[in-house]
């Protein structure tokens, strides 16, 4: 039993989460929240020394379920999740909330378990577990969050169901073998699996749950949510659909279109949600390219993204914690009162924008180089445009409107110490991952294909990147001076989800009205029918009915004789 618990690093975290739900003392819970990811990382470390021995499978009802399977790709993903878990634990130290602690741990444990699951059925279990445990984090966000949470849950359960359906088709195709491997679109179940992962990963037009739910979650909740769900889906995608051409274009579109929404959005946490979407696009694109270099880029960018996106959400969370809002129109000039947060946010913004010596610089470029090597010029152009867009909305807009811009007059305290520590550590990691003397080499040594050589610090690359970035800054300034740049305004932006939230609702309302009219008539007919059928059934079968009349023995004897006659008749016919 102990062996089984220790086989997959995620199980320990889930159990810690369950314990958290039972322990009433906050300090013990906080210890668990911090210690569980570290313990999980230790398990990953020992398991990776001998991947063959670490493989664990149990048989449930004749079906083999592979609980643990580790290779380089899974190892990196696991480490990144553990790292995010530790940072989140520090960031959430101030908050005394049993539900957040427990659900965060179970959610994280499910994500880690999902990464190490070796077959689709096991993956499905953790896929759904991650969805169900994480919705509690959304619901902790306050009044407005409930319906967003319900939508979030519905869409994730749908994704799980699609995953299971696809897995069953795929398993049947393979003769009962559910092992996760390259699936490919042409195989049965492939499309369903892609759709399931696409929903969780936020493919264009399937992405709305991200911007719907994440900004409405609690401050710590958003930070935790941003790290795991989409990344788990990305992992599954990398496992099953690496090199699938369609993903290149999906990814490229995914990088570009959130840029427009992000530029005009007022809620800065929502801006970050769009930018999350956009960063995922780079990785999806990399998976689509599927070469060794591209997969390295995906893995490296994942590590960087979890940290800098977490850092940005953390800094926005800190601002929200002190000021109570994350609306660009209500903020500004906070650099005076929150200098450290400002610095950390700028580091995060620089990282996401891929400034040299900050993390995305050494990771994103790998994907773009891979695109160039494979001669996807149009895609490369889209990625370049998106990079400039990232600089625009995450690199400049977020810190500018929060900490600089016009002074909002808010004079608040610096963020709590634990938030500062978490953000500080994250900033340090952002710098470390791109550190030219030993930093990025360390990151690269953990990548799935360590034999691929790539050097980010070439003069050509540095100069190109700086041109791009300064061009973007120049554009921002020019637009700002010319008063063309969209001002921070309180407004709702209509995204694709309007179609199903508003249009869909209107259609439902219309159908409902029509139905009410129709059903007035139908109800009479239906009631008559059911009445009649029910009465007939009752008359036949009830204790007072025909069939239940206390059959006197004479009657039964006649029946027995009748049965005999029937039998003889059949026998007679059979012999004819």
């Amino acid at each position: 039993m102990i062996d089984l618990i220790l086989s997959n690093p995620g199980f320990l975290v889930i159990i810690a989460g369950v314990l958290c739900a039972l322990v009433p003392i906050s300090s013990i819970r906080k210890f668990l929240v911090g210690a569980a990811p570290i313990a999980a990382a230790v398990i990953i470390f020992t398991a990776f020394k001998d991947p063959e021995a670490a493989r664990t499978a149990i048989s449930v009802g004749g079906q083999e379920m592979i609980l643990m399977r580790i290779d380089r790709l899974a190892m990196l993903w696991g480490y990144v999740f553990c790292l995010a878990g530790v940072l989140n634990a520090i960031y959430g130290l101030h908050e005394k909330c049993k539900i957040t602690d427990a659900s965060a741990l179970i959610y994280m444990g499910a994500a880690i378990s999902g990464v190490y699951a070796g077959d689709f059925l096991t993956l499905f279990i953790f896929w759904e577990m991650a969805a169900i445990s994480s919705v509690l984090l959304v619901w902790k966000g306050g009044e407005n969050s409930f319906s967003a949470g319900v939508r979030y849950l519905a869409i994730h359960v749908l994704s799980g169901v699609l995953l299971l359906a696809g897995a069953v088709m795929w398993g049947r195709h393979n003769g009962g073998d559910f092992t996760i491997g390259h699936v490919g679109l042409e195989n049965p179940g492939g499309l369903l699996l892609l759709l399931a992962m696409g929903i969780k990963c936020g493919f264009p037009l399937l992405h709305n749950w991200i911007q719907d739910a994440y900004p409405k979650a609690s401050i710590t909740g958003t930070v935790i949510l941003s790290a795991f769900t989409t990344k788990l889906a990305l992992y599954a995608l990398a496992r099953c659909f690496a090199g699938e051409d369609i993903l290149i274009y999906i990814g490229a579109i995914m990088t570009c279109f959130p840029v427009f929404f992000a530029v005009i959005e007022n809620d800065l946490r929502r801006v970050l949600s769009y930018s999350l979407n956009n960063q995922l696009g780079f990785m999806v694109c990399g998976i689509g390219i599927g070469t060794d270099l591209a997969m390295n880029g995906v893995a490296a960018h994942l590590a960087a993204d979890v940290i800098f996106k977490g850092l940005l959400f953390m800094s926005m969370g800190a601002v929200m914690y002190r000021t109570g809002t994350a609306k660009a129109s209500d903020l500004g000039g906070l650099f005076r009162s929150m200098p450290l947060t400002t610095v950390f946010c700028l580091i995060g913004a620089g990282s996401i924008a891929a400034f040299p010596f900050l993390s995305a610089f050494v990771t994103k470029s790998m994907i773009m180089t891979a695109a160039l090597y494979e001669h996807h010029e149009v895609v490369l152009a889209m990625l370049l445009f998106a990079s400039a867009g990232v600089m625009e909305h995450s690199g400049i807009k977020v810190p500018y409107f929060t900490f600089f811009s016009h002074d909002s007059g808010k004079r608040v305290e610096e963020a709590p110490w634990n938030m500062l520590v978490a953000m500080g550590l994250a900033s340090l990691l952002c710098v470390f991952f791109a550190f030219p003397w030993g930093g990025y080499q360390f990151l690269y040594s953990l990548l799935p294909n360590p034999e691929v050589h790539y050097n980010p610090y070439t003069g050509n690359h540095v100069v190109t990147q700086l041109q791009l970035l300064f061009g973007a800054i120049l554009a921002f300034n020019l637009l700002k001076k010319a008063k063309v740049y969209p001002d921070e305004r309180r407004a709702e932006i209509l995204d694709f989800d309007w179609t199903y939230r508003r249009l869909g609702k209107s259609i439902a309302v219309w159908i409902d009205a029509m139905w009410t009219r129709l059903s007035a008539n139908v109800a009479v007919i239906r009631a008559n029918f059911i009445d009649k059928a029910g009465r007939r059934l009752y008359q036949m079968f009830s204790p007072a009915g025909t069939f239940s009349e206390a059959a006197p023995s004479g009657m039964a004897a006649v029946l027995t004789g009748g049965m005999l006659v029937v039998l003889f008749f059949v026998i007679y016919l059979a012999r004819l």
Binding site: F547, A556, T560, G562, M563, F568, I571, A574
Partner: protein, 508 residues
């Protein structure tokens, strides 16, 4: 097989005779015992010995050995022989084990439901009934079957009538059962007479051999088959001949209802299998016609009509009685499919249904014991008043519906697979529909028990009053067994496959 080596050798070598003789002799002794506690203790010991013996026999069968026990050393066909093979041994074990569980349950239950003076005779009748059931299953002689059938039937009529101190309607039910049971037995013995006329022997194996030589025999054999099928059909509550069953189940003492529901009809069904497949043979066209059209037809009719009727009952015991008729329909459908898969599915359902219905009727008996409840509407709040008993009832009910990870699911699944293999898509649909009907009649009770509040008497909510431990133990044993079978059905499936291979010739 390590357990088997721990057995002394005589219970195995003489087990077949012991199973019949021991309860028969002690039944006579128990009837004159002055004290009910002594009677109970002896019954308990006897049924324990029977269970252990039958278990040993099951182990020998799993070891691949069959036995032909010659009574008095006379060789068949002249002497009477007892047979131990893959088909009857699981049923022997089922009967003995249910007798043991019922006896444990009986200590509180019989004390509550039977008049003090009649309790020792009650146990005597019970032991003799057990002897009769075991005898008709173990014997290899056709006339012997009739004798034991009558032994068990007569004691069963007595047992049902004993319910009169709880419910006077038991007398009428017992009378009804007596008349119909006698008609059934008469039909059966008429059939045997014809069979003797045709073959000149009463030994089952001998009859089977001679009939095969005659390629099914003349009209006489056909008439014999018709009479035997109807006679046994009455005993096993085949659909239009089930009239005796609801009354007997509803008004007999709880103890007797459990025992009847999980063994008596099963033993008769075993005989039906034995006669249809090994004495007569499906390769005779008239046998096949009866299996195909009559058994399947009445099976399906029983499934649908029995389930529908169960829905409308106001008495919980009657609900379950009609459900039993429907479940017999499932078994007959399995027989009607007549492939190895179908037969083993039917046989599996025979074993599983005994476990499930035993558990459910145990729970119903406990409800009566504590609160005098038999009507469906009185189930309100039972989940709070008797949580453990209701828990067992819930597990049994879910199993009856066929929820995954319960015994009922395993046998229904096997039945569905068998029907699919045979190409009978319509049968699959009927299985699904009747499962939904089962959901309705069980769900109705569960909803009332868990979602209604307990009744108030004189303004006070009825307090919780759990069933005694002696009732809970056998009930939960069966409930857990049904889950265990649902999770790992290897053993029972193997027993069912063995039985099917005996029926289709070859195998142990």
């Amino acid at each position: 097989m390590d357990i088997l080596s721990a057995y002394p050798s005589w219970p195995i070598t003489h087990g077949a005779a012991l199973l019949v003789v021991l309860p028969l002799l002690l039944g006579a002794i128990v009837s004159i015992l002055p004290r009910e506690k002594m009677a109970w203790a002896i019954t308990l010991i006897v049924s324990l010995i029977l269970t252990v013996t039958a278990f040993g026999l099951v182990l020998t069968i799993f070891g691949g050995e069959t036995q032909l026990y010659k009574l008095g050393g006379w060789d068949p066909p002249h002497g009477i022989s007892f047979v131990i093979d893959g088909l009857n041994t699981p049923v022997l074990f089922l009967i003995s084990a249910m007798a043991l569980l019922c006896t444990i349950y009986g200590l509180p239950s019989v004390a509550a439901e039977v008049e003090p003076k009649k309790r020792a005779p009650f146990y005597a009748a019970f032991l003799i009934g057990v002897a009769g059931l075991l005898g008709m299953v173990v014997t290899g002689d056709a006339f012997n079957v009739f004798v034991f059938l009558e032994v068990s039937s007569i004691s069963t009529y007595v047992l049902v009538a004993m319910g009169a101190s709880r419910d006077r309607r038991a007398l009428k039910a017992a009378y009804n059962y007596l008349i119909l049971g006698s008609i059934g037995a008469t039909f059966f013995v008429i059939g045997l007479g014809f069979l003797y006329m045709e073959t000149g022997t009463l030994n089952m194996a001998d009859i089977g051999r001679i009939l095969a030589d005659l390629d099914g025999g003349s009209r006489v054999a056909m008439v014999a088959f018709g009479f035997i099928t109807v006679g046994l059909g009455l005993k096993l509550a085949m659909f239009p001949l089930h009239m005796w069953l609801p009354g007997a189940y509803a008004h007999a003492p709880s103890f007797v209802t459990v025992f009847l529901a999980s063994t008596a009809t099963k033993a008769a069904l075993y005989l039906m299998l034995r006669f249809t497949f090994t004495i007569f043979d499906p390769s005779f066209d008239y046998v096949m016609a009866v299996i195909m059209y009559v058994l399947t037809g009445v099976g399906v009719a029983a499934m649908l009509l029995g389930s529908l009727q169960a829905i409308f009952q106001t008495d919980a015991r009657r609900t379950l009685a009609f459900s039993s008729i429907a479940q017999v329909g499932y078994m007959l459908l399995g027989v009607g499919i007549a492939t190895a898969a179908g037969l083993s599915a039917g046989y599996l359902h025979l074993l599983n249904h005994a476990v499930i219905k035993g558990c459910l009727f145990f729970a119903l008996g406990a409800f009566w014991y504590r609160y005098g409840i038999t009507r469906c509407e009185d189930f309100n709040g039972l989940g709070k008043m008797m949580p453990w008993t209701m828990g067992a009832f819930t597990i049994g009910g879910l199993s009856l519906i066929g929820v995954p990870a319960t015994a009922g699911f395993v046998s229904k699944l096997n039945l569905v697979i068998a029907a699919m293999e045979r190409g009978w898509g319509w049968a699959v649909i009927i299985i699904m529909v009747t499962s939904i009907l089962a959901l309705v009649y069980i769900g109705r009770l569960l909803l009332a028990a868990y979602f209604q509040s307990p009744p108030e008497i004189n303004g006070e909510v009825v307090v919780r009053n759990e069933a005694p431990l002696m009732m809970l133990i056998p009930m939960w044993f069966l409930a857990l067994l049904s889950i265990a079978i649902g999770i790992n059905a290897d053993l029972v499936s193997e027993a069912a496959r063995n039985a099917a291979s005996v029926l289709l010739g070859g195998g142990v």
